[in-house]
């Protein structure tokens, strides 16, 4: 049985690290996966992408309201920041930190711009993960959609 893609040297993954999309926490997950749970990273990445999409949608709805509840927005940003940190999604995490600052400043423009940054970084990352998955047997470690 071929080893899961994520445990093999992979130029796309290496590029993701080099581009600052991922940090060493992702390597921690790779170590966790070794041996007993070959589908662990698939499950975590799938959950991250699905839950992240939901969170971004909720934030967008909140920012669309004439009177923005910055505490609620901040709560959702906290969730995305937390999950980003847990899987090593460095760029998304950093965008969330900036976003959180705008929530604390109650800056509508800042929050809207931050949402764009977070959304772009998030979808860049999830797209790269999907690219891995679509790379045939070598991409068997990640979700396909």
């Amino acid at each position: 049985m071929a080893a899961p893609m994520l445990n093999q040297p992979n130029s796309l993954l290496a590029n993701m690290f080099a581009a600052g999309l991922l940090d060493d926490q992702f390597q921690e997950l790779q170590m966790l996966q070794e041996g007993s749970a070959p589908d662990f990273i698939v499950k975590v990445v799938t959950l991250f992408c699905e839950d992240g999409e939901r969170i971004i949608g909720e934030i967008a709805k909140l920012l669309d309201k004439p009177c923005v509840d910055y505490d609620k927005v901040g709560g959702f940003v906290r969730q995305l920041k937390g999950s980003s940190a847990s899987i090593g999604a460095l760029r998304v995490k950093n965008s969330c930190i900036q976003f959180h600052q705008c929530c604390q400043e109650k800056s509508k423009d800042g929050c809207v711009n931050s949402l764009d940054s977070v959304r772009n970084d998030f979808y860049d990352l999830c797209s790269m993960f999907k690219l891995h998955a679509s790379a045939g047997p070598a991409g068997a470690g990640l979700p396909k959609q």
């Binding site: 966790l32 709560g75 999950s83």
Partner: protein, 125 residues
């Protein structure tokens, strides 16, 4: 390292919960999940016993430190409670609430391992 520790994981963020659960199970812990501080407190009120609690700080309904205060007030003084958070102010909040330890997120295996071992040794002694 063999362990039959009962771990309570108090975490509202699904991804964090999945990763931390997996880490705990890697150390052969039996993991129970609570999505917020109130669920954690209710677990203790229902008579459940745990060897270790990993608790996030900011959660809906009841925060981690609030839950720690209530758990200790119930007389659960033996259980090791570890606050786990990315919040800069979390350590002080957890320690003053009665937690035994604090670990900044994200948790690492090399940090969790010695904690588990310490609890096992304490339990065996």
């Amino acid at each position: 390292m063999a362990s039959s520790l009962k771990a309570l994981l108090v975490e509202d963020i699904k991804v964090d919960s999945m990763v931390l659960s997996f880490m705990l199970r890697r150390f052969h812990c039996e993991v129970t999940l609570a999505k917020n501080g109130k669920e954690a407190v209710d677990m203790f009120l229902e008579g459940n016993k745990f060897d270790i609690v990993l608790c996030d700080k900011d959660m809906p309904i009841m925060t981690g430190p609030e839950a720690v205060i209530k758990i200790r007030a119930m007389g659960a003084t033996d259980v090791k409670i570890v606050g786990v958070s990315a919040d800069d102010n979390a350590m002080e909040a957890f320690m003053s609430a009665g937690a035994d330890d604090f670990v900044p997120k994200p948790m690492r295996l090399e940090v969790l391992g010695p904690m588990i071992e310490e609890v096992i040794n304490r339990k065996n002694n």
